[in-house]
Amino acid sequence: MSDPLALASGLAPAGDLAPTGAAFRLPPVRAYSERKPLKASRLDQAAAKVVGRVRVGLAGWAARRYARIARNALARSEEIAALSEAALHLRIQAITAALRARKTFRDADIAEAFALIREMSGRVKGQRHYGVQMMGAAALLDGRIAQMATGEGKTLTATLAAGAAALAGLSVHVVTVNDYLAERDAEEMRPLYAALGLTVGVIKEKQEQPERAQAYACHITYCTNKDLAFDYLRDRIALGQRASDVRLKLENMHARASRLAQLRLRGLHFAIVDEADSVLIDEARTPLIISAPAGSQFGTEVLARAMEIAGALSSPEDYRIEAAEHRIVLTDPGRERIADLAESEAPGQDSAWRGRVTREGLVRQALSALHLFHRDEHYILRDGKVVIVDANTGRVMPDRSWSDGLHQMVEHKEGCDLSGARSTLARMTYQRFFRRYPRLSGMTGTTRGVAAEFWTVYRLPVVRIPTHRPVQRRHLPDEVLPDEAAKWRRVTARIAELHARGCPVLVGTRSVGASARASAYLTEAGLPHTVLSAAQDGQEAAIVGQAGQHGRITVATNMAGRGTDIKLGPGIAERGGLHVIMVERQDARRIDDQLAGRSGRQGEPGCFQAILSLDDPLMESGLIGRGLARRIMVLLGPKHGQAFGRRLLRHAQRRTEHLHGRMRADLLHSDQMQDRILAFAGHAE
């Protein structure tokens, strides 16, 4: 089934290459292209693991191949640089024809295409790609994860691969983590693509279907992972069952309101995922759900009674809070108490209290609302409404709601008007979605600990691309302090010291809440600083962009201002470059590395330091309690105590990584199980 070039839609004639000639388009070979879902049996999985190991062993070989392509492309640069504008266009047309004639990319064609795009980029934008960027692009075309250090110019790298693939007739989706980046990158690269005869579309929030369809109809589409997945999901709803290729095409011929006309995408062909670890791994824990309003399930009095009963229960006799998994577990005595309380309070008039399952579900939701979901951490109140805060990014998600009546329960707890319950229309996971691309590739700064998962889940091998210049970042040893207060004292002292020297400082936190605390401490210490609100817009990018200036202090979460280079101000390099201080361990070591990668870009000097405490949220899932850990640290003395603390936090981090890895595996597994169980309901969306 891997003949992606033949399947590619939008096989344009040569005339289409002129920037203005996008009017005529041949009908697509496939009405809606996507890869058939993998039916992975246990044997396949085992074999995939073995193949994955072998592939890791052969990664060096692949990297050599990409280096050869890059060398070949560079070898042509002088010759191509000498070409006239018209001659260059002719060469581009020639390579377009060559690429389209084949189903697979030949190394020689890739080198030629890269050399031409590079030259065009140089003429249009004045930026010519480095060798390592061409290596990375070759890896992308080959369907791999290119591991490129932060600051190596991933946006520019993507243009090579996206350009070459688009020339070959594939519809390319360049997936970024937020709207701002999508728009910025698209606009930045639009002149280059236009010069190549390629159209660029951008998907933004609040676009309607026709607009989106138009954007997706372009050769290259910049979009966020969320928009893309949801658009695909909406397409699947529109397509429904009985959506075979032939049926759709026939329908398109005779029916006026064909399903094809309601679609947004042209199918899935080739995707380049920026920040692949964040999109494909971290966000893969949350399923995507499209829902529609459906009348309220339970009235206020039922919710009120649930809350009352929940208030009457006590932990740990009646229920246990499993913080690590964010759930409530009722004990057997607890179940009995619920039954008694429900009996006494509601003498049988409401059916909700008679059924054991319903009853316990309600009380569990009430307990969750009371003990697991906290205001200003998991949600905020805005205009008398409960608005969810994304735990990953710290952004507010106004159109999201919790399922199974939990949202109403939280609303009731906060005394808001109850919103209507919503019923699911379609459900999707990133794992399932991205696996449907016949050709998937990604770029990321770090794949530490997840390379195996990239392979087993997405069949994506990782290739490490060398840096353009050697890394000059210094890593200071982690400091572990016994508690939060001591940590902040140390952090402010350190920042004050650096600030006095004029060093720019970036404080990396884990959550928006921690950012707020950091800000409070810094204000108290009289240090001028800027806090990023994770709004992910142009202003935020501007702040991040300024973070490298003399004497700047910036507080940001890991996700804030991602994808924006922090350029050093004049004279900063001599002062040691940007100093990054991490005040909390992130959920995964990989994300720590990304934070570190904020400094020391492209061979500039930089410094990374972690000042942590045993009050770190990660310690929740640690091996031993905080009190004990503190005592042991004191007992061991300053030197060994530090080492002990570091190891303890690392261990807690590894546990969290493991937990999240398992949650993703569970989600994928249950997704597959669902498919089997729901076989009678036709194909999954």
Binding site: Q241, R354, V357, T358, E360, R427, I677, A679, A681, G682
Partner: protein, 715 residues
């Protein structure tokens, strides 16, 4: 696992409008006072048990209502305990998996193909996994049975039962009357080569009638029988019949009767055979009748009637106690108990659906497991002794199925099952503790190690008093039980012919001497002859005189005189060398112990103490020590009391009537008991225990396994 009324994936099934396919039929049954519905799939012959709630959902699915409407209606009907959406999805999914649903969607051919492939694969794997019960279907007997129905239907009535009962009771009475005769030669008759051949010929016939019984019973109450075939049960062909449609019968007695019909048939045959056996003359007919009796009663009740094996008895039992699917639910229940109480998993679901099932499930699971494991290992080792390579392979397979595969499954559960999340530490700890304890018990903890053997009280040969010549014992000169001095006369024998012979010889000698004196001066030749005759006669006379002297039996050594049966002795004619009794000192009687060769090495090298109990006084334990041993193996056994016929443990070659000769080499030890033995127990059986100190069980098992391999497989 937290249960919720709503399901995340409900949206995918809510708009479907499925209905049950036409070849499915629902029957109402009651188990333990609760109503259940049994869904019969006429196409595959499978059955699905449905709760009333599930049945309601099924009945509401008419192809016009959407599942959403069906579920809402079902939830309204069961307000107290509405079916959850997940339950509903699971039900629909199971029905779909059995091809019982017809929906408004076109069938997904790829999915169908995949499912049929996986079914085929599972069947194959089941066959490979269980080569001891392969099934080969032959034909569909339903039309034949339909035609024959008028013939056998009357049998399944009160009159049929009366006839059956009469025959079986008569057979029983006959058998009871001939009980001695019957039990006396069972072993001898059954195991002779001739009889085995006869049995092999009869067995398939009886089993075919047995299966015919099932088929007829199923047909008699309106069931269908669509499969007859041959099953290789432990490589031995046996017919089988698929009477599973009886599961749809509403009355449990009818269901039980179908399952029991085979046993009824065999018992009937056994009853008839008993009558024939009792009346027939010895010959082939009688032998055949005897075999039918044994197969039809003993073997049927032991195997078919045994609820612990998955034969007829199991189904009868399950129906009797009204716990359908007893075997697998029993296993699940034990597993649930472990999950719930040992591993403390809160979400564990119990398979118990009715009151009073718990003890049954628990006891059945444990008993069946122990029984099945024992039987399958016994079968495997039996086959292994017959055909080495094949047998060892089968034994390994049996071992794999009963020991290794559950262990691997358990280990996998402990290490990877998501249910154990957050309990895994505890689970691993408990499992390793249990495994460690088992290991310690087997390999580390030394347990008392002994060998048991039998012997007899034995007097050494030099203490026996034997007659020196033939004669009638007239008197015992020393009272038995009294001490005698060495050389003292103990008994007097009488041989009148000997006295007269001596008198004749003396007279002859006198005559010869006189004739010699007369001839000496005259005829020198004659004199010479006579002298020779005198010499010869004197010699003969000396011999007779010695015999005469031997008529007085004397003690060779001092000690107590023991004469077994002393009262009967005077007046008896004794041949030369016959034993009169013993002259024993207190140390003389020993216990002569006979041990098979497998135990010899242990007794020789590791005996740390010997204890013995006399058969007449088993309560008294007496210490002893090995006095001497016969260095070589021998076949003769010292006393018949030690042979199996005499109640001992040594198998004796029955084909040698002269002397008791053991089938396998035996070794003889003499054990001296501290404090000596009373003289009145000579020849009595003694139970002897050789103590080898202590040793962990596993090492012993390894030793005996090695011996088994050496002796059975010569490897």
């Amino acid at each position: 696992m937290s249960q919720s009324l709503f399901s995340q994936s409900w949206y995918r099934v809510a708009p479907l409008r499925p209905r049950l396919r036409r070849h499915a039929e629902i029957h109402r049954q009651s188990f333990r006072g609760e109503v259940w519905y049994v869904l019969q799939d006429h196409q595959t012959g499978r059955f699905h048990r449905l709760s009333p709630a599930a049945n309601l959902i099924l009945c509401l699915m008419d192809g016009r209502r959407t599942l959403q409407e069906v579920w809402e209606a079902a939830a309204r009907r069961n307000e107290d305990d509405p079916p959850t959406q997940d339950d509903t999805i699971r039900l629909i999914s199971q029905l779909h998996g059995s091809d019982l649903l017809q929906g408004d969607l076109p069938p997904d051919l790829a999915e169908l193909a995949e499912r049929s492939e996986s079914t085929a694969r599972r069947t194959l794997i089941a066959r490979v996994k269980n080569p001891l019960a392969l099934r080969f279907p032959l034909f569909d007997p339903d039309p034949v049975l339909d035609r024959l129905a008028p013939l056998f239907r009357p049998l399944f009535s009160i009159w049929g039962f009366a006839v059956w009962l009469a025959v079986v009771v008569t057979g029983l009475v006959v058998a009871a009357l001939h009980a001695g005769e019957l039990t006396g030669d069972v072993a001898g008759q059954m195991l002779s080569a001739q009889n085995v051949a006869l049995m092999m010929a009869l067995y398939p016939v009886i089993k075919a009638l047995h299966e015919a019984g099932h088929a007829c019973a199923a047909k008699a109450w309106g069931g269908e029988v669509h499969e007859v075939g041959v099953m290789l049960l432990v490589l031995f062909p046996a017919p089988y019949v698929d009477a599973s449609t009886s599961a749809a019968f509403p009355s449990k007695w009818q269901r039980m009767m179908v399952a029991a019909a085979g046993i009824f048939v065999e018992l009937f045959l056994a009853g008839l055979a008993a009558i024939v056996w009792a009346t027939a003359e010895p010959g082939l007919v009688r032998a055949a009748a005897f075999n039918v009796m044994v197969i039809g009663s003993v073997s049927t009740l032991l195997f078919n009637g045994n609820p612990l094996l998955r034969f007829d008895g199991y189904y009868i039992f399950a129906d009797l106690i009204e716990i359908p699917n007893l075997g697998s639910r029993a296993n699940r229940y034990v597993f649930y108990l472990i999950e719930r109480y040992v591993l403390t998993i809160e979400g564990a679901t119990s398979p118990v659906t009715a009151a009073g099932e718990r003890p049954w499930l628990f006891v059945y699971a444990v008993a069946a497991f122990v029984y099945r494991t024992t039987v399958s290992i016994a079968i495997a080792s039996f086959i292994a002794t017959q055909y080495f390579v094949f047998g060892v392979l089968l034994a390994l397979l049996a071992l794999f199925g009963t020991v290794v595969s559950p262990l691997v499954k358990g280990l996998k559960f402990i290490l990877t099952d998501p249910k154990l999340h957050r309990r895994r530490g505890r689970a691993v700890l408990l499992t390793s503790a249990a495994a460690g304890a088992a290991f310690a018990l087997l390999f580390v903890v030394p347990l008392p190690y002994t060998t048991m053997a039998q012997g007899v009280v034995w007097a050494p040969d030099d203490t026996q008093i034997r007659t020196g010549t033939d004669g009638i014992l007239t008197t015992l000169l020393v009272e038995p039980g009294r001490d005698a001095q060495a050389g003292e006369a103990l008994a007097k024998l009488e041989d009148p012919s000997l006295d007269s012979r001596v008198a004749v010889l003396e007279a002859q000698l006198v005559e010869l001497r006189l004739r010699y004196d007369a001839a000496r001066l005259g005829d020198r030749v004659q004199a010479q002859i006579l002298q020779e005759q005198i010499g010869s006669t004197q010699e003969i006379l000396r011999v007779y005189r010695e015999r005469q002297a031997a008529l007085t039996v004397r003690a060779a050594q001092g000690g107590r005189l023991i004469v077994p049966g002393a009262v009967d002795l005077p007046g008896r004619y004794l041949r030369r060398g016959e034993r009169i009794g013993y002259v024993l000192t207190a140390d003389d009687p020993v216990v002569r112990v006979v041990v098979p060769q497998t135990d010899v090495d242990l007794i020789r090298s590791r005996t740390q103490g010997v204890a013995a109990r006399l058969a007449e006084r088993p309560e008294a334990v007496r210490a002893g020590s090995i006095l001497r041993e016969v260095p070589g193996a021998q076949q003769e056994i010292p006393s018949l009391a030690l042979a199996t016929q005499g109640g001992g443990t040594i198998a004796v070659d029955a084909s040698n009537p002269q002397k008791p000769v053991a089938l396998q080499s035996i070794f003889v030890f003499d054990v001296q008991l501290a404090g000596g033995l009373p003289f009145n127990v000579l020849g009595e059986r003694v139970y002897v225990r050789f103590d080898h100190g202590a040793e962990p069980i596993a090492w012993r098992a390894l030793r005996s396994l090695r011996q088994v391999f050496l002796s059975q497989f010569r490897v």
